[in-house]
Amino acid sequence: MSSKEPILQLHNIEVKYHEVILVLKGVSIQVPEGEIVALLGANGAGKSTTLKAISGLLKHEDGRVTDGAIEFMGEQIHRKDAEEIAKRGIFQIIEGRRVFEHLTLEENLRVGGHLRGNGRQLRDRLEMVYSYFPRLKEKRNLTAGFASGGEQQMCVIGRALMASPRLMLLDEPSMGLAPLLIKEIFEIIQKLNKEERIPILLVEQNVKLALTVAPYAYVMENGRIVMDGPSDVLRENPDIRDFYLGLTDLGTRKSFRSVKHYKRRKRWLT
């Protein structure tokens, strides 16, 4: 872990849905000030749940942090409402490009500035977002529901940016986008992190990409963190190479004959 002071800390949190379904079984994560941290894992590993536990949206889905603690800038936030957590500067970008379909792109952005009040501040903020996403400015009056996938993704990132976040929780920004667009969006994310010094907790299925933008990463499986370390180290780890990057040591594609081997290793990993 880097020497910087962590802005967000999860201490062994346990999350239950509907008071019975145990989804997270003791997750500990640290996000240092001004850095990107990646959270990797397969479908259903609990990545999105972790983000929702931090942003407080969990309560909206009848989920609850039943054990452990979440600390943001030295303050415990896991019992607070989503609204209060947002006021403290944590903004989650929910997966699946949830734009407000019937509003225009600009109106979407303005809702993002909801907590920042009206008037000048909002306009400056809007210009700042447009400087990162010039394409949004071009199409500012387009109804968001009819925008392309890339534009929608830019819109939801820009929307969170409007709120001048102190921590961004970014859930699968690459989902369902063309490779070129993914590249563009990730470049913007990196730029945001560098220039605005916004720490980002990034959930991603595209492991290769995530490991290039984030200097540090956690790997989740079945509601637990099974591995963490600097991205360079993880990239060389044989299990990560096997299960997430789809490479053997020789750098060639795996043959189907080694499927059994896959299962054995996977069980060990969990």
Binding site: A86, R98, F100, E101, H102, L103, H114
Partner: protein, 303 residues
């Protein structure tokens, strides 16, 4: 022809009152997906509150118009407070429950409100005394006349409609309400307080319904049957598309005109009640062809 024009014009005037109430209804539906079946009782409460304020004010002030305007302003304030209280005590705890349960709560509220109104104000028909608007018809052109009650009701509803719609379109909280209507979870993630949005929707609904009830009470006098306005609002909003604000306004006006025409042309052939049935019949026929209403949200699908 003159008869027709007369009917249409006064229909538009009454329709604007429906439009106002329909607007309140649509706001609640848009933001929280709840069909508010207590809307009629909200109009009832508004009408009686305004009547009481008016009889209070009119003696010391002496001038009926001024007293009425003050009473109307008071109705708006009290309406907003009642809306916030209703949301706080009855609907806040229903957040997250199935929509059907919330709708049942509004049914309960409608009975409760009706009971409260009967308890406080009784069941006799009351009228605004002294009259606020003169009964003398205003000549428009040729043989077309208009009661001044209708004209002023029209003006008042249009002003309020403009105020509400611009609030919804151009202010921060209006935008937040639209966002919540679109995607509650995403709105929450941006720090929009869903609770406050609901409270706001109920406050506006109470205000719109209250003024609507008052205006209608000026036309016909106030008794329990003012509450049937709530029933008429349903075809108006279904016509416009359940979650369309402009749709609610146009729908309200169409229903007003339709009612008047049915009353003028059809009631002579029937034992009565065409006026009440016509809007609903029209609604059913329209739904056959446009299941989303005129401007309802169809789901945006990208291909």
């Amino acid at each position: 022809m003159e008869v027709f024009l007369n009917l249409v014009i006064s229909g538009i005037m009454v329709g604007s009152i429906y439009a106002l109430v329909a607007l309140g209804w649509v706001l609640i539906y848009k933001c929280s997906g709840v069909l508010n079946l207590a809307m009629g009782e909200l109009t009832l409460i508004g009408a009686y509150v305004c009547l009481s304020l008016y009889t209070w004010f009119v003696r010391p002030i002496g001038q009926p118009t001024l007293a009425f305007l003050l009473a109307l302003a008071g109705t708006l304030v009290i309406g907003a407070c009642l809306g916030l209280l209703t949301e706080r005590f009855f609907l806040r705890r229903m957040i997250g429950e199935p929509v059907l349960s919330v709708i049942m709560v509004t049914v309960g509220l409608s009975f409760f409100f009706k009971g409260v109104v009967e308890f406080i104000w009784g069941t006799d028909t009351r009228v605004f005394t002294p009259e606020v608007f003169s009964k003398k018809p205003i000549p428009l052109m040729g043989n077309i006349y208009l009661d001044s009650v209708y004209l002023w009701s029209f003006v008042a509803s249009i002003i309020l409609l403009i105020v509400f719609v611009s609030f919804f379109k151009y202010t921060r909280w209006g935008l937040a309400m639209q966002a919540t209507a679109d995607d509650e979870m995403a709105a929450l993630s941006l720090g929009v307080s869903a609770k406050f949005v609901y409270a706001l929707a109920w406050a506006i609904a109470f205000m719109a319904a209250g003024v609507g009830g008052t205006l209608l009470g000026n036309v016909n006098g106030i008794n329990i049957s003012v509450g049937y306005l709530g029933l008429l609002v349903l075809p108006a909003v279904v016509l416009g598309g359940l979650n369309s604000v402009p749709g609610a306004i146009v729908g309200g006006i169409i229903i007003g005109v339709l009612q008047n025409l049915a009353d003028g042309y059809l009631s002579q052939f029937t034992p009565g009640g065409v006026k009440e049935v016509a809007p609903l019949a029209f609604m059913v026929i329209l739904l056959l062809f446009k299941p989303y209403g005129l401007w309802g949200w169809e789901r945006i699908e990208r291909v």
